[in-house]
Each structure stands twice: as structure tokens, then as C-alpha cells.
């Protein structure tokens, strides 16, 4: 680890609990590098998570950190942000945590456009409970609860976030780290609800169940199926099948929730 990054970690808590080959550590590193690049005030950052492999990340990070209940990170984070808008609030969540049990909180946090950056460690599987399919598991993939192949259709989290009202939406992967760090920086600087769908790998469960080979092979797979969103515009539906579109999907400036609430306070006190 680079010396200047050590202050962001609770180094005494390392090594982490993630499996060999898991890429959640790479994602955690990307988050920290983005924070460092922006020179954000460490004492003004609160990191909130739910339950699952991804959600153990805040425990290793030296900020105000809150490891909540399954799916509820955004609900807790909303309370924190509204109660203390001076805090930069970051939610680290997984695909099951965010898109299944936390789906309702996700769309409503996006709808409010509250200034929270949500980074989804998206490895297409429930890892902590050992390999069940999630709403992000591609159709046809195998999981311990999909022994004959998954018949569920998966979400496109970016489209979901955008249509729910998120004002910064982007996707990166663990293979394209410099780009991912830039995306996280943009998300952190954005005023309003920002979503980063960070495609991760789970060699232990998703990889093994789907015979994808070593972690290196899974990384190469991500490299091979990822295409920049710009180049995707020219491709047909058939050509896009199975591809991961990466880059910035959407950005707009819109009224932010806690700023709007500050106006409510002003209005309620008029004439007092």
C-alpha cells in the first residue's frame, strides 16, 4: 500500500476477510484513492454499508463508519445526511444488498436526489451466504439456488438509478481501475444522488459455479466483454448481448434534497 494511503485504513484490522482472488479489495482501494485524489477532509466523511461481503469494507476504513442491517444502508445514510448535511456520505453496498432487499431504499434515495454517493460492489452473486443468485446474476448463469440455470432477468442498475432520479450514474469495473477511480471522483464531487455500478468478481462462488477459471481469467473476461458506452451506440442489440457497458451514463444538475430542506426550514420560520 502507498504510504500516503495508510491513514485512510485501520491497518490493525487487516488482513481483510475476503477470499483470495476477490476483487472487493481493489474496489475499496479505488474508493480510497478517489478520496485521496480529491483531498477530501477525512473527518467529514461517513461511510455506510449494509450486509454482505461488500459491506465489510467500511470496517477497514478510518472514517465514521456504520455497518447497518441488510439492504438498509441508504435508509441510515439518508438519516445521517439530512441530520448533518456537512458530512460527505458514501454508501458501499453489494448487488444483493442494494438491488434486492434494499431496492426500495435505492430508488427512493435516487428519487430524492439526496447528496449520497452509492458504490455498488457488483459481483453478480450473494457471496457471504455462499453463492445464491442475486438480481444482478445474468440470466442463464448458475448459482447454488439456480442449479439448473438462473431464469430471473437481471437489472441494469444504471438504467434503474437514472429512471428513479439519480443525477450522476456511471459504471466501471475492477479491470479498468484508473477509469473507475475517475468515475468515483466525479461521483463524490457531484451534488445529488450518484451511483457507481462497480463490476467486481467473485471467483469463489460465481466463478466456480460458472466454470470461469482463475481470478485472472475472470478479470480477462471482464476486460473482453466491457465496451465504452460511446462505442456501444453504434452496435446492434445482438452485438450488445452479454456486454458490460462502462463509462458515464448520465449527469444532470438538479435540486439536492438537504438543500431543499434548508429552504423548508427558512420558509417555516418566516414571519416568526
Amino acid at each position: 500500500m502507498r504510504k500516503e494511503l495508510e491513514k485512510y485504513f485501520r491497518t490493525e484490522k487487516l488482513p481483510h476477510i475476503w477470499c483470495p482472488g476477490c476483487s472487493h479489495g481493489i474496489l475499496t482501494g479505488a474508493v480510497v484513492r478517489a478520496i485521496d485524489n480529491l483531498k477530501l477532509d477525512q473527518k467529514k466523511i461517513c461511510i455506510v454499508s449494509g450486509i454482505g461481503c461488500s459491506s465489510r469494507a467500511p470496517g477497514y476504513l478510518n472514517f465514521y463508519t456504520l455497518h447497518t442491517t441488510h439492504g438498509r444502508a441508504l435508509a441510515f445514510a439518508t438519516g445521517i445526511k439530512l441530520a448533518n448535511p456537512d458530512l460527505k456520505v458514501i454508501v458501499l453496498t453489494g448487488d444483493g444488498d442494494c438491488a434486492a432487499i434494499g431496492g426500495n431504499h435505492f430508488i427512493h434515495a435516487a428519487r430524492r436526489n439526496i447528496d449520497i454517493t452509492t458504490i455498488v460492489f457488483n459481483n453478480s452473486i450473494y457471496g457471504m451466504t455462499s453463492g445464491q443468485y442475486s438480481p444482478m446474476t445474468p440470466k442463464g448463469s448458475y448459482a447454488t439456488t439456480a442449479p439448473y440455470g438462473n431464469i430471473d432477468r437481471n437489472f441494469d442498475l444504471c438504467k434503474l438509478a437514472q429512471s428513479a432520479g439519480a443525477t450522476y450514474v456511471a459504471r466501471g469495473t475492477v479491470y479498468h481501475i484508473p477509469q473507475l477511480i475517475k468515475i468515483i471522483e466525479k461521483a463524490l464531487q457531484h451534488k445529488g444522488f450518484s451511483l457507481v455500478d462497480a463490476v467486481s468478481i467473485c471467483p469463489t462462488y460465481f466463478g466456480r459455479k460458472n466454470k470461469m477459471g482463475s481470478p485472472v481469467k475472470m478479470m480477462e473476461f471482464i476486460r473482453d466483454v466491457s465496451i465504452p458506452i460511446k462505442s456501444a451506440e453504434k452496435l446492434s442489440k445482438e452485438e450488445l448481448a452479454g456486454k458490460i457497458l462502462i463509462g458515464e451514463f448520465y449527469e444532470e444538475q438538479a435540486p439536492e434534497y438537504t438543500e431543499e430542506y434548508a429552504k423548508v426550514i427558512e420558509k417555516s420560520q418566516e414571519g416568526d
Binding site: C46, T69, L74, F76, I107
Partner: protein, 381 residues
């Protein structure tokens, strides 16, 4: 009449009390018969610089309340039975992580959607054991509108003092009735705020019992000391542990900080119990009918008294144990199929005959029904 006397609804008294106690954050979800608490909070909180948010569901409201409390604000939510069930997951989180918060449950008929507009006291056991695992909880229950005001303040005070979720267990009648209430001068109200870490502490550990009273001082997110909070079993540093000794020490401390302070927490009113042969135990709006029955029967010369519980959990074991041997019968009057009666029976330890007066059809227990029950029990003796 003082200029401060007002005709006030129970739910309104709850919000007035909450703001007087220092509530500066409310997150909720609409549900009958508690909705006025959300509506009034939405109106009143911004006027005092506080925050209100209507969340997407009951679970989220409870989460937001805990998040806000972690930043140092006093926070509350209100609901009714179905919503109370949904909040249980995060009430357990607040118990384990020792985050002060107040949860109002205006009880209505259940189970399920049940009788949304009619009163009940069917959540007595849910209030105690609704969330999973061994956990501490404090539950208060008011009988009068003025008492709603007082007990809401007390709920905040106890929650802050002991770092425990505190439940104000109302019923639809107390919540919706209107009575004359004279609000006290705010300067006369006793307010308790959570204990903060001593600035001299180096390397603050959020769950260390620095003072030996079982209650760790609580820093807030944003104050400058980074710390970790998790719903996993944790050691004094706040980080997860599966160590048996750590687990046992944590759960023991959580329970002891409540059970070592029963005299401070448990509150009840004894009326005419000194020479009573029959004592009726009740709470909430039911206690009002019981009080009327006690007055009427005393006029007829019957030796009858009552214990009106203001704290339901932890249970007022002492109140039962202290009863004289002149008492022959205990009756527990509650608008449910019989919940608190089992705890009273256990506390009585065979010293008294214990029976229940129960109604669970959406109607109040009337004074006449109380009198009939007392006469039935006395006839049996």
C-alpha cells in the same frame, strides 16, 4: 385558566413533548392511528431548526432515525402495529449498537391489518420481544393526554441516559382523545442528554464502559473522532467479534444497564391498594375505566385498588411483590387476549389468585365490565 392551557389531542401532546425533550429529527411513514404525529412533526420541527422526512417505508424510517441519532440529534418515529412489526429489525440494531431513539406505537386492533381505526393493547409482548435475540428495551404507556406529553419527554430522557431504544406504547384512545393540557414552563422540564466522551480520553473506544455504570459515553459522527458501529456482536472497540467471552460480556452489560436501574426506570401509580383485597393492574386507556370502577366500588365499600403501570417494560415486579397479604385477587385488565397477565402471574409467584379481564374486539373495556369482573372474582373467593 392559564394562557398555556390547551385542548389537545394525545398525538399532539406527543409531538409537543418530543420537541420539548429536544427532538430535532423525525422520520416516519403514514399509518393510522399515529399519522397526526408525523403531520405535526412535519409542521413543527423546521420551526425549531429540526428535520422531518417521510421515508419510503417503516423500515427506512427506523434506519433514518438511527442514522440521525448517530450524528447527535434526538430522533423519533411513530407507527402502529403493522409498522411496528416492520421496524423491529432496526429496533434490534439500535438496542445492540446502543443508539438512543424513541419509537411511538399507537396500538390498533390486530393481528395483521386488523382494525386500523380501533383501539387495542395487543402489542405488549411485541414491544418487549418484537426483535430477535436477547435485548434491552424500555416501554412506557400513558393513560392521559397530559401524561402523553410527560412520558414522551421521559422516553427521550431514558433513551438518552441508558442509550437504549425507548418505546412509547400508546393506544388509539389515548392518541386521539382531546383533553385540557397545561404545558409546563420549558425551563422547569428536566432534560437528559446522552453522555459524551471526556475530551481527555485518548483513543476513544465507543463501547468501553469508562465510568463503570454500563453506559459507554457516545461520540457523534462528524465530531472529529472516527469510530465504527456494527450490528454484529462487537468488542469495546466497536469491531466485530465472535469470541464467547466478548459476546457474553456485551449482552450482560446491555441487560444489566437496564435491570440494575429498575428504581429509576420503572414507574407506576398505586391507587387505594393499602387495604385492598382485590387489585386491578392496568395501563393506557384501560386504566381510566379501571379507575372509574375503583371509585364506584369504593363508594359501595368494596376493598378494591389498582396499580396503573406507566412503565410496562421492564415490568414492575416490585409493585406486585410489595402487595400486602391482605390482597386476595389480582385482575389484569388489558385490551388483548391476555398478554401482561402471564408476567403478573409469574411475579405473583402463587401468592395471589391472578385472572385476566380481556377484550379484543375493538371496543374499550368499560367500568361496568371491570365491576362485573371484580364481583365475579370476589364471589369465587
Amino acid at each position: 385558566m392559564s394562557s398555556k392551557a390547551r385542548l389537545m389531542q394525545g398525538n399532539e401532546a406527543c409531538v409537543e413533548g418530543a420537541i420539548a425533550a429536544g427532538m430535532r429529527f423525525y422520520a416516519g411513514y403514514p399509518i393510522t392511528p399515529s399519522t397526526e404525529i408525523a403531520e405535526l412533526s412535519a409542521e413543527m420541527l423546521p420551526k425549531v431548526g429540526g428535520k422531518f422526512i417521510q421515508m419510503e417505508d417503516e423500515i427506512a424510517s427506523m434506519g433514518a432515525v438511527i442514522g440521525a441519532s448517530l450524528t447527535g440529534l434526538k430522533a423519533m418515529t411513530a407507527t402502529s402495529g403493522p409498522g411496528f412489526s416492520l421496524k423491529q429489525e432496526n429496533i434490534g440494531f439500535a438496542s445492540l449498537t446502543e443508539v438512543p431513539c424513541v419509537i411511538v406505537n399507537v396500538q390498533r386492533g390486530g393481528p395483521s391489518t386488523g382494525l386500523p381505526t380501533l383501539p387495542a393493547q395487543g402489542d405488549v409482548m411485541q414491544a418487549r420481544w418484537g426483535t430477535h435475540g436477547d435485548h434491552p428495551i424500555i416501554v412506557l404507556s400513558p393513560s392521559y393526554v397530559k401524561e402523553v406529553y410527560e412520558l414522551t419527554i421521559r422516553a427521550f430522557n431514558l433513551s438518552e441516559k441508558y442509550r437504549v431504544p425507548c418505546i412509547l406504547l400508546m393506544d388509539e384512545v389515548v392518541a386521539h382523545m382531546r383533553e385540557k393540557v397545561e404545558l409546563p414552563d420549558p425551563s422547569t422540564i428536566k432534560i437528559i442528554n446522552r453522555k459524551k466522551p471526556d475530551p481527555s480520553i485518548v483513543n476513544y473506544e465507543p463501547y468501553r464502559d469508562y465510568d463503570g455504570d454500563g453506559i459507554p459515553p457516545m461520540a457523534s459522527f462528524g465530531e472529529g473522532i472516527p469510530f465504527h458501529v456494527t450490528g454484529l456482536i462487537h468488542d469495546v472497540t466497536g469491531f466485530p467479534s465472535t469470541n464467547a467471552k466478548v459476546t457474553e460480556a456485551l449482552i450482560t452489560r446491555l441487560m444489566k444497564k437496564i435491570y440494575d436501574n429498575l428504581d429509576d426506570i420503572v414507574d407506576y401509580e398505586c391507587i387505594s391498594v393499602e387495604d385492598a383485597e382485590t387489585v386491578i393492574i392496568s395501563f393506557g386507556s384501560t386504566a381510566r375505566s379501571v379507575l372509574r370502577a375503583v371509585h364506584l366500588m369504593r363508594q359501595e365499600g368494596h376493598k378494591i385498588g389498582m396499580i396503573r403501570l406507566k412503565t410496562i417494560w421492564p415490568f414492575a415486579y416490585k409493585a406486585i411483590q410489595n402487595l400486602s397479604s391482605a390482597v386476595k385477587n389480582l385482575i389484569v385488565a388489558e385490551m388483548n387476549f391476555g398478554q401482561l397477565v402471564e408476567t403478573v402471574r409469574a411475579s405473583a409467584g402463587g401468592r395471589f389468585e391472578v385472572s385476566g379481564l380481556n377484550k379484543f374486539n375493538g371496543e374499550l373495556i368499560t367500568p361496568d365490565e371491570v365491576i362485573a369482573k371484580v364481583k365475579e372474582v370476589m364471589g369465587r373467593a
